[in-house]
Amino acid sequence: MSRASLKVNGQVHAIDVDPETPLLYVLRDNLGQHNPRFGCGLGQCGACTVLVDNRPTRSCLLPVSRAVGKEIVTLEGLSHGENPHPVQTAFIDEQVFQCGYCLNGWVLTTKALLDKNPNPSDAEMRKAFETLVCRCGSHVRIFSAVRRASDAMRRSA
């Protein structure tokens, strides 16, 4: 066990865990966050995605020691108070998901994609998403939401 501090959604938390513990379990079990979610533990699906210094990261594989000193943002941390992030607004407006278990990956990957590339082509969008799984098959509405978010963010930029 070792003591460290972890910055999650702007708040600093003191933790005392095995430094090899994947960030996922520290966020869920030590810090009581409901997102990210366990999907495969193998980095193959994206259900456990968080942003680490604004890069979509599989928290099921990242030892917590490597997240220390970085800015970690989870799905809850995207919105400001009651104001959803424009990406979240777009996903709500498009009524994207079925069960929604996968959505940490899709929403946070979209946020990071649009930060880098505000108007991605269809091919760029698909490439950014290729490592994510949505088992229910909500892809068509996901793509619509990305376009909607891109339009909204560019209009307000």
């Binding site: 533990g41 959803p84 994207v96 949505c134 098959g137 909500s138």
Partner: protein
């Protein structure tokens, strides 16, 4: 914190007294934290024969609805809320649901068969209509105005012509008991109630039929939603299971010293061949499950070589056989047919491979009083299995359903509950078991494989005069669709409790597929026994539209083969063999939307380039829901890779409750069924499933998604609402196979349509 005094059912019922007693105790967010009721209070569970068994009005205007149905990700809570709001003339936002808690909701058979709105909505509609009558009577007394002078709008009863004189539903809460009795009929999916209130005429609907946003979408996207995996119970420990190395392998020994150094390790639990670990933290439990040294006997070589699966299905003596549709004299008509067509089709084992592998929490107390938080679709059935497992009366078991990842049938979420019960019982504390990916993909029950042999005869006019259909489904469902016995659960099978409740289900023409107008038909279904019935990773169960996608793949492909033989356009050929106007209407609507060019398949002019394009159609009819899907595909003739470029789906499920929710369900169904048609096949060796994760069990990814998806909804407000959760899964595989044939002239008769199979079909054609 859990309450020191658990909510007893006596307390619950006393509080619930009548329809209109305020009921703030039942804050839904508290539900998972309440403990099970003492056994002696069990008889007092609210009855479905009472109005307050279905809904209650609270002082803050909340209308709390109790249903045995659960939300498995398709928006059913929103649709049911619309039905209740409609009948009560209450604001949609006032409706709140308590779903599938065996202690406090009616047993409606859980979720299955796309019945939640079609059948499950009926008692809610009738209860809400009756509640409206009761509330009006109360308001009449309170306001001193005759019933006929009252009106209701937005949950407020007012006097016609004098709207200032009014009283809200919430203000009527707390009135004396009314004990409104309801007449109950049927049970399970078919449970219905009727009371004094008669439902509205659909032509007057203002809430049903509207595209109201789903109640769960915003909290889910904002990260404020809790799934089963988020339930935390005070004192809870974490468990993981360690499965045998293959089917039939038995435990030789466990070296507990291999995990004793792991911090927070609590216990290694062994019961027969069931092995699990319990630890203080989740990470410790995972590490312990990985590190635990377990020796097993060599597994049995119980499975055939994968390549022999369909040969096995075709040559094994069936366990049971049953005639399906038999009409005229198919054999005689076949022998006199002008043209004969014969073909065989194969459908593989498939995994539900749920997005989250599933989570269950069990709190088994020393007297057997047990609470389980689970995302399974059949809580009232699971209650029976767990009671048998623990040898306690049913009333001591409470299953609290909490939404988990989309389940598409019975992926194993009940099995997880069994795991959690054994671990909790062993340590005397609540235990949370999160399945790992391989627990789900490799060890979760599977959708069953089917082999089909079809023959058809065409007369001189190119009409089908004879049809012979034979299906051989592996085992149907050797773990029954409802986990009503302990032996149904994987954990129990590992401890030595045998499964005694197998069900045989057939892949029958006309039930699991559309039926065509053919004068001479002989359809027979066989069920072939499974390879090993005990704790097998290839045990089979319901997977979204059981046997439907498989059977429709065979029948719809074969209709195309016969159309090609007759030189007919595939849609015109189908229309010639259909009389049901709704089936014809979906085909016509899809054709119109797609801009279907009427001509026989395959396409005459195959281009010179590497990429070939084509279009195909499939029809699905399921319990009164009609779906026609057209796929436009592009096939790379060098690699055999096919991609769907566009889907057009015309869908008629009777009355549409929520068109936007329905479109979302259909669009997702198309991707899910395309994934099954083109990618999904469980791989196995002689004793173990080798598809364990998303690499070894690939599913649809972003690059596979069609550029365009068009959905045409056909609304029939004059008809009852039908099911929509599964039917649009049904025609997809046939439509894609027919499109590949149209593009290339090569027929792929084995699902999934992988590049090697398409390439092989191209080669054998050339």
């Amino acid at each position: 914190m859990a309450p020191k005094t658990p909510l007893s059912r006596r307390e619950f019922v006393k509080d619930a007294g009548g329809l209109l007693i305020g009921f703030s105790l039942m804050d839904a967010t508290m539900l998972p934290r309440l403990l099970a009721a003492p056994a002696d209070d069990a008889a007092l569970v609210p009855s479905p024969g009472r109005l307050d068994g279905w809904l209650r009005i609270e002082k803050d205007e909340t209308i709390r609805v109790f249903t045995g149905k659960a939300e498995i990700g398709m928006g059913v809570q929103t649709a049911l809320s619309q039905i209740v709001a409609e009948e009560l003339d209450a604001p949609f936002e006032h409706i709140s649901f308590v779903m599938a808690d065996t202690a406090i909701t009616p047993d409606q058979g859980g979720v299955g068969g796309s019945t939640s709105v079609a059948q499950g909505g009926k008692p809610l509609r009738n209860a809400a209509a009756t509640a409206r009558v009761v509330l009006l009577q109360l308001a009449s007394q309170r306001l001193g105005v005759p019933l006929e002078q009252l009106q209701v709008k937005n949950g407020v009863v007012s006097v016609m012509g004098d709207p200032a004189k009014s009283i809200s539903y919430g203000a009527l809460a707390g009135s004396p008991d009314l004990h409104e009795a309801l007449k109950t009929t049927g049970d399970g999916f078919g449970l219905n109630v009727e009371g004094a209130g008669k439902p509205k005429a659909p032509s007057t609907y203002t809430v049903v039929g509207q595209p109201i946003p789903r109640v769960d979408m915003r909290p889910k996207v904002l990260g404020q939603f809790s799934y089963a995996g988020d339930v935390r119970v005070p004192g809870m420990l974490h468990g993981r299971v360690v499965r045998p190395v293959g089917v039939g392998s038995t435990l030789q020994g466990v070296d507990e010293s291999s995990v004793k150094e792991i911090p927070g390790m609590v216990k290694v639990v062994v019961k027969g061949n069931f092995v699990g670990v319990v630890a203080q933290t989740e990470w410790s439990a995972i590490r312990a499950a990985q590190a635990l040294k377990v020796s097993w006997t060599a597994p049995k070589a119980a499975f055939p070589d994968q390549q022999d699966l369909y040969r096995h299905l075709r040559t094994a003596t069936p366990k049971v056989s049953k005639d399906g549709i038999v009409r005229g004299d198919a054999a005689a008509a076949m022998s006199s047919a002008a043209k004969k067509v014969q073909a065989s089709y194969d459908w593989p084992f498939q995994s539900h491979a749920t997005m989250g592998p599933g989570c269950g929490i069990a709190d088994v107390q020393p007297d057997g009083v047990t609470t389980i938080w689970s995302g399974g679709q059949k809580p009232h059935s699971l209650q029976k299995a767990i009671a048998e497992l623990l040898h306690v009366p049913l009333e001591r078991i409470r299953i609290v359903w909490v939404e988990d990842a989309g389940s598409y049938g019975r992926p194993g979420f009940d099995d997880i509950a069994g795991d959690a019960v054994l671990l909790s019982q062993a340590v005397g504390k609540p235990v949370r078991v999160q399945w790992m990916r391989a627990d789900m993909t490799a060890w979760g029950a599977k959708g069953n494989p089917v082999a089909f042999d079809l023959a058809g005869g065409l007369d001189a006019d190119g009409k089908v005069s004879a049809f012979q259909f034979t299906s051989r489904a592996l085992s149907g469902t050797e773990i029954t669709p409802q986990p009503v016995t302990a032996g149904n659960l994987l954990a129990c099978q590992l401890t030595g409790i045998l499964n005694a409740a197998a069900a045989d289900e057939f892949a029958q023409y006309g039930e699991a597929s559309a039926e065509y107008q053919i004068p001479n038909v002989h359809a027979v279904g066989h069920v072939v026994a499974t390879f090993d019935p005990v704790a097998s990773p290839l045990r089979t169960t319901h997977f979204r539209d059981p046997n439907g996608p498989a059977t429709a793949f065979a029948v719809e492909s074969f209709m195309d083969e016969m159309a090609a033989s007759a030189g007919a356009d595939p849609i015109e050929f189908r229309l010639k063999h259909l009389s049901d106007p709704r089936a014809k209407a979906v085909l016509a609507a899809a054709a119109e939307k797609a801009g279907w060019d009427s001509r026989p398949s395959p396409k005459k002019s195959v281009g010179a380039g590497e990429l070939l394009t084509g279009r195909g159609v499939g029809l699905g009819v399921r319990n009164g829901t009609y779906v026609a899907t057209i796929a436009e595909v592009e096939v790379n003739r060098g690699t055999g890779a096919a991609r769907v470029k566009r889907f057009v789906c015309a869908h008629d499920c009777g009355l549409i409750v929520n068109p936007d929710g329905l479109r979302g369900v259909i669009a997702a169904n198309l991707m899910h069924s395309m994934s099954r048609a083109m990618k999904e096949e469980v791989k196995f060796d002689r004793s173990q499933v080798t598809s364990m994760d998303w690499v070894t069990y690939p599913v649809v990814r972003a690059s596979d998604v069609p550029e365009q998806v068009d959905i045409v909804l056909i609304n029939h407000p004059e008809l009852p609402a039908g099911g929509a959760g599964e039917p649009s899964s049904r025609p997809t595989a046939g439509a894609i196979a027919n499109a590949v044939f149209d593009a290339t002239g090569a027929r792929v008769r084995q699902a999934p349509l992988t590049p090697p199979r398409i390439k092989a079909a191209l080669a054998s054609k050339a």
